[in-house]
Symmetry: C2
């Protein structure tokens, strides 16, 4: 077994991502010698102890990070500013602070200024997930074949960047470095916009008369169902993502709405060629995905 | 084995739905004694003979329906008016003409007036599918646990309605009777709108700069992928569906766009409560689906 990357890792928040990393760290042994978990409620911490992937739990985030040489923010991104303020005075000199948030510019904006000198901040985003949340939902193969995007601001300590990259490789992930603003735009189209659409169409269906609503459920297999899997995701996490990647989400939504209006116009005026062209593009993208084995 | 429902069934078009019904008819033996298949190209008909689920193939639709006591239109709905005109003089007295199209008002509008006296027209729609098409794509379990909606206009011969309903039950489907206009509205929200959105968002992504396009493929697992499965469907079939369910599709798209604008506004102005509420509704609908075992 390789030498552990860290002596002690502290997780602040322990949902799908955090508890998957903790399970991997526990199983492999070469990520950290000691695992400390912090969450907002004692109930979650009790459950974490039952699940057996932590050495120690702490209800106070400041206490959780004391003496840890790696601290991983795994809460919804909207909670990061508060958490960072609480832990800043307790962070150990030389520690690496990282996160798993789905928006990166907001994290750099909210957390960056609060980091004490001598602590290294390496923002990262493992692009993996399911529609489940909470400490029970994690599993050790979540990151296999998936990408983790590491988005350090200019001037970040390279040794720390490499340690966090190696942590994700040991979790089974491929690692790519990306500028935070570019990350936010790419994620807006591949993840945030599809989720926004999925939540929205569920609402549109839910607004139909009661009779039709039952029928939506009966006949969901014809397309609607594919949209609802991702619509089952955690509301607070997604609220925070939309609010913290506002510019890019609004831009991608605007582009999509223009394209949808284009389809509406083609349908209204019977422009068969335009419609066929749009459907063909969908197939093309799908074929690319299959060729890249992401589907 | 029960007595076959029909002496001879003729399929006009033999894609996913038609070839699934033909396979079931061949396997069960109690749907029709003889299976005749018509398609637009000899190549498809040759393939059908190789696949072995037809007794006979006919390139001429008129010849295909001669002497058949059941005729099933399985082509894209945009081809129905033409097909109906071609077969009308050849339909046998007392025959039942049915279809599997995804839009029902247009079928009644296009086919209804062309039916000779003494032929019974029973429009129907098996709400089942995959993203695959063509005679190779059919399989005998496609309709199991799914619904077939039968939408006979007022005054349709009840014996014929019951025969078509029984055909679908023998295919493994549940059967429900529905008014054609109501059918078109329900399908617009559960199937046509989700497909329209899926095709559109693929186009939106495809329009991004080349570099981002590769990244869309790399990170598709984060949500986008779920939208692309249904975007792989047959372009001509979908073009025809959109054009032939224009009013309902445009209305549902309009409702959806209003709701998406509502989300855009909430994101722009930071209305956290509104966003959380929308996400919660998505979860609620998803839970209903799971409870009804459609997911």
């Amino acid at each position: 077994m390789a030498e552990p990357l860290f002596e002690r890792i502290a997780f602040l928040g322990i949902g799908l991502i955090g508890s998957s990393v903790a399970r991997i760290a526990r199983e492999r042994g070469d990520i950290a010698r000691e695992i400390v978990v912090n969450a907002r409620t004692q109930k979650t911490l009790d459950r974490v102890m039952e699940l057996g992937f932590a050495d120690r739990v702490e209800l106070d985030p400041g206490k959780a990070v004391e003496g840890a040489d790696c601290v991983m923010l795994c809460a919804p991104v909207g909670a990061f500013a508060d958490l960072a303020a609480k832990i800043a005075p307790h962070l150990a000199q030389g520690a690496v602070l990282t996160d798993v948030g789905s928006t990166k510019q907001s994290v750099i904006r909210d957390v960056g200024p609060l980091i004490p000198a001598g602590v290294h901040f390496v923002p990262a985003h493992p692009v993996a997930g399911t529609e489940y949340s909470g400490p029970d939902s994690g599993f050790t193969t979540l990151f296999q074949g998936r990408w983790t995007l590491v988005t350090p601001p200019p001037g970040t300590d390279e040794v720390s960047v490499e340690k966090i990259s190696e942590l994700w490789r040991r979790c089974g992930s491929m690692v790519e470095r990306m500028e935070a603003g570019h990350h936010d735009r790419v994620l807006a189209i591949v993840s945030h916009l599809p989720h926004l659409i999925a939540f929205t169409i569920c609402g549109t269906a839910d607004d139909l008369a009661d009779e039709s609503r039952q029928e939506v459920i009966n006949f969901a297999a014809s397309g609607f169902r594919d949209f609802t899997r991702i619509a089952a995701s955690d509301p607070v996490m997604w609220r925070d993502i939309f609010l913290n990647n506002r510019e890019a989400v609004l831009e991608m939504l605007q582009r999509f709405m223009e394209d949808a209006q284009g389809m509406a116009r083609a349908i209204r005026w019977g422009d068969a060629e335009y419609i066929e062209g749009m459907v063909e593009r969908g197939r093309k993208i799908r074929r690319s995905l299959i060729q890249q084995k992401q589907a």
